[in-house]
Symmetry: C2
Subunit: 636 residues, 2 copies
């Protein structure tokens, strides 16, 4: 205890232990406090869980809009090796990004028109490709992307705060896990409530960014559009290659990750759902374009250079506003918006997982609605995997950014080509225009995806080549499993009917006492056929003793004593089951009746050997026997 922080750690440790103990002891009430009262299925279609479009906008926008702060910077960083002369490329690159954004939004709007039930790339692919694996590429890259988004956004949010407040730095991992836990709780409570809590900060961040852009123009009207620090425009620096330009463009495209959120979330909009979702897309596209373009333009005018320890956003804010309250607001809004980016993916992940699980490609548990009608298992799975990533990478997840951009553009491309096939098949009004748009979009997004994969291969893109096929393999195995079982369980109701069997009942006894009396009473009440009591002793004395007591008790039924050389009840019991099953004249079923103590307090379980539990587990797994547990509720 040399340092006060040791004592603090110890106190925190003890508090954590007490909290865990309390939560286990009072699981239901703690759950009620955190999650809220359970809701009826009938409440599902009530409007209060559905969102107005201008409330959905900030919630679903956080993922896309938060990347605005680093997109242009990522792009220009690729070219900075060429010197100051290359800085003007930030403007054409940003314009290309915005064009791509426009194309993507138009494509996604058509996706919404075609598939109003959400599911985005997965729904589109499923409908247009006969090959399952194409839609599984879309779903698994999106699911992985969501997990990465949570890990990356939360870690980046904490890095933002800790670069402003270094005191936070050693606690980044713990605080990141805490943030994920809070997001988990909020999302288990339900979408509507998370909206009410979380709608305003994103609007605040948007206003801050727009204010920053306005301040930029004000600054430029005052000091001129070409200032002392403005680099030359239109020069072609030495060493510029097409590959380098494409690399810069693809990096800048990291500003577009998160655009699919709205199309995946159509069902959470208030009616008319499609119209409202489209409104949201258009509004978001306009705000994002203005922000990207204005921001890039000012970055060019001020000739800002990338700096590892100071983001370009932070640099330009400091030029216009100094390090005062507006700077603080932008730092904290960045934090909040990154957390919200993580938040918006909870809805997306759990709904996509439910759809994919409904098709039998993921465990069926993902389709279950929890107490608050959200897909709790998906929400919990997302929080758990993201937390694992955060722990494994100690909250330094920047390295994962290339991974998630590649997944996004992969699913973009699949969606576009899927829509292409749809227009060719269904046609309809203006189908050639739509086909053209999606073909163009598909080609562009494929190129971006390929460039990402090639240029970032050694930076971690190779992981995608391992993870996505693994998930697809599992998905196919899962579906096969469900199909096999469904076939196995099918019966012909006119032919197959329940048939009675001979039952041999074995009661496990450990002595002569009230629990044994209780268990034996039950067994004698049900057994019509054969009933034996089985005693397992560790040595001859114990067995002799037991047999004497049994006789003294008047031999309520036949007692079979088994000796266990290895101090295990399981081994002699399973030998006995085997012997009986092998008997020629035995063609019935074995039922093993096991008594179980139920203490008043849960921790009292630690004081009793959990042999019954282990036995039940092992016997059910390895033998074809029926296990009956007769509880004995201790009075004290």
């Amino acid at each position: 205890m040399k340092h006060p922080s040791d004592i603090l750690d110890l106190i925190l440790f003890i508090v954590a232990l007490i909290a865990i103990w309390y939560s286990i002891s009072n699981f239901n009430s703690v759950k009620r406090i955190l999650i809220g009262r359970p809701m009826r299925t009938a409440e599902l279609n009530a409007t209060h869980n559905k969102l107005l479009w201008f409330i959905a906008l900030p919630i679903l926008a956080a993922d896309l809009y938060s990347s605005v702060s680093y997109g242009p910077e990522s792009g220009i960083t690729e070219l900075i090796g060429l010197g100051s002369e290359a800085k003007w490329y930030i403007i054409p690159i940003t314009i290309s990004t915005i064009l791509l954004l426009a194309i993507l939004i138009v494509s996604y709007i058509m996706g919404i028109l075609a598939y109003p039930n959400g599911g985005g790339a997965y729904a589109i692919a499923k409908d247009n490709y006969k090959q399952q694996w194409v839609s599984l590429i879309a779903s698994s890259s999106l699911l992985v992307d969501y997990i990465l988004t949570v890990a990356v956004s939360v870690s980046a949010a904490l890095e933002a705060v800790s670069s402003a407040y270094p005191v936070v730095s050693p606690y980044e991992t713990v605080l990141a896990i805490l943030c994920v836990f809070i997001l988990l709780v909020v999302n288990l409570r339900g979408v509507a409530e998370s909206a009410k809590i979380f709608a305003w900060p994103t609007i605040g961040f948007m206003l801050c960014m727009l204010l920053l852009i306005g301040a930029g123009f004000f600054h430029e009207f005052r000091y001129g559009f070409v200032q002392a620090s403005t680099p030359p425009f239109g020069t072609v620096p030495k060493g510029l290659s097409t590959l380098l330009l494409l690399k810069a463009f693809s990096s800048a495209c990291s500003a577009l990750t998160g655009i699919e959120t709205i199309s995946n979330s159509v069902p959470i909009f208030r009616a008319p759902q499609q119209k409202n979702a489209i409104k949201t897309y258009i509004a978001l596209g306009i705000v994002t374009s203005i922000t990207l373009l204005g921001f890039s333009f000012h970055l060019y005018v001020q000739g800002i250079s990338p700096n590892e320890h100071n983001t370009m956003l932070s640099q330009i804010t400091a030029i216009y506003f100094g390090h005062g309250i507006l700077y603080q607001m932008i730092i904290w809004f960045t934090f909040v918006v990154l957390i919200l980016a993580a938040n918006s993916t909870f809805t997306g992940f759990s709904q996509l997982a439910a759809i994919v699980a409904g098709d039998g490609f993921l465990p069926r548990g993902f389709t279950n609605r929890g107490d608050r009608l959200g897909y709790s298992n998906g929400i919990i799975a997302l929080a758990a995997t993201a937390s694992l990533l955060i722990i494994a990478f100690q909250a330094h997840t920047n390295a994962l950014i290339p991974l998630y951009a590649i997944g996004v553009f992969l699913s973009f491309s699949i969606a576009q080509f899927g829509l292409m096939k749809r227009w060719q098949r269904i046609k309809g009004p203006h189908w050639k225009v739509k086909l053209g748009v999606n073909t163009f979009g598909g080609i562009i997004t494929s190129i971006v995806a390929i460039i990402f994969a090639v240029t970032k291969f050694t930076s971690g893109a190779w992981i995608v080549i391992i993870v996505i096929p693994t998930i697809i393999m599992f998905s196919i195995a899962i579906q096969r499993h469900y199909r096999t079982i469904s076939n196995e369980l099918k019966i012909d109701v006119s032919k197959t009917h329940p048939e009675t069997n001979k039952i041999l009942t074995m009661v496990l006894v450990s002595g002569v006492h009230r629990v044994v009396n209780n268990t034996l009473s039950f067994a004698m009440s049900i057994s019509q056929d054969e009933l034996i009591a089985v005693y397992v002793g560790f040595d001859d004395d114990a067995i002799h003793n037991m047999e004497e007591k049994w006789t003294e008790w008047g031999t309520p039924c036949r007692l079979v004593s088994l000796k266990s050389k290895y101090r295990s009840v399981l081994e002699p019991l399973s030998r006995l089951v085997h012997v009986i099953e092998e008997k020629e004249d035995f063609n019935g079923l074995i039922q093993i009746v096991i008594p179980q103590f139920i203490p008043k307090k849960w921790w009292h379980n630690l004081l009793h050997n959990q042999t019954a539990l282990l036995l039940r587990f092992w016997l059910l797994r390895h033998k074809d026997v029926v296990i009956t547990t007769v509880p004995y509720h201790l009075k004290k």
Copy 2:
């Protein structure tokens, strides 16, 4: 993936996941490889698990002998504020420590003579005090002490290595946990085998220390016993107080922790057990005394000062041998001996826990012998709690050293006063001498304990005041629980006999398929009284469908349909149970028959809702119903 270490971390992470998966899938074979074949109870008394005294010596000595390296240093560090003039006090302080060691060894030898079955302080206290709490103080302080020893020794071992090889530093916690895991496996394999592996390094460390002392004398014969760096002898520095001297003495006494290991482990010696244990004590006392005195003397002659980043052992080794191979050997032997100190406590902890549990003060599971005849639960509990401490303190456990010294001296004192009472009661040959020795020893160890408690109170000794009484409280609660149950379960064999009851059997059905057919077949085979099928539907359509199918199937028994508004099977079912129990004319027992899928591969469980498991758990806990599980083994 900017740094290669990220990729390394990722690869390690994936390897760990695969290893965990493999271990779960093949639990039994992995267990066999790690632990070895199970052993018969009859093998318990075979000699090969009992130790020859000179093999027991290094194993049981590690705990005591490893503290030699830091004992004198701790003592003199307390006085160093008084300047170089105080350095000669290291010699009288070490002499006092050795006298105390001699007293303790003599006392413990008498303890062995009186109580040959081990248990040390606890056995002595239990036999001589009517008050349970006195022996519980001894047992709980020893148990806590063992846990701390493992955490502190393993952490210190890794700190030793990482100060020589800084590259290890960031992995200290993980490597410490790994060391504990290796110790766990080795101890689960059994004592004899750990002896064969672990006897030699401690002997090596002893030889190194003796070589160091020899080299010191050689050095002094050559350069004189009073060298340029030798501080003055016999001066009384300004500011020296009795309290300060006592504090220094008590710190130096940390060299004596671990002395109780032998007396607790008498049963592991080969016959004649007492004689061999005493031989070991005497041999260990002589070696330790020589080492302590020689080491301190050379430290004084060379005028070594304590240095935070360089232990005095390391400093003096460098003077005699430089930083060559002997220096490396001493570093690595320190590492190994500290790991062995942790190892020796595994035997001590599990045997003490078994004895205390046998008296009903700890969960009875501690008395079970595992596959290899060791008390596995105690071994596992020790490894788990020590690992938790290591994680909570991030392998920086120096702060815990004062805690464990106080526990040790507390139990020393209880043992001594217990022996005092014994001599007064039993008398026997030379009882007055023995009484005198133990009285003197008891007074000295109490003083040391009190000085520890007072001088280290703010450094963490206060924790002992929380932890030990908490354990005692739990121990007493546990014993009370066992007694209550034992009374509750007792029956009069002549009066109480099993009685048959009316049984209402409910079969949970989820549709009409093979599993339901199978379950119903069993239920119809056993039910003599009433049988109903219960279906829980989430909406009216589902219920209507089910009822139609049931009729189509020919209504094998009455079907009760329940609607669940909250999408839970539990709630309507427990309502139904309640309604039946409240019925006036019902005075029987309810049996609920639940089908359970058993897939071929364990991970397939993730693909099926574990409703059956949750239901069984909840109903057994909260209702007085019998639960029968009918397994359905999937063929694929």
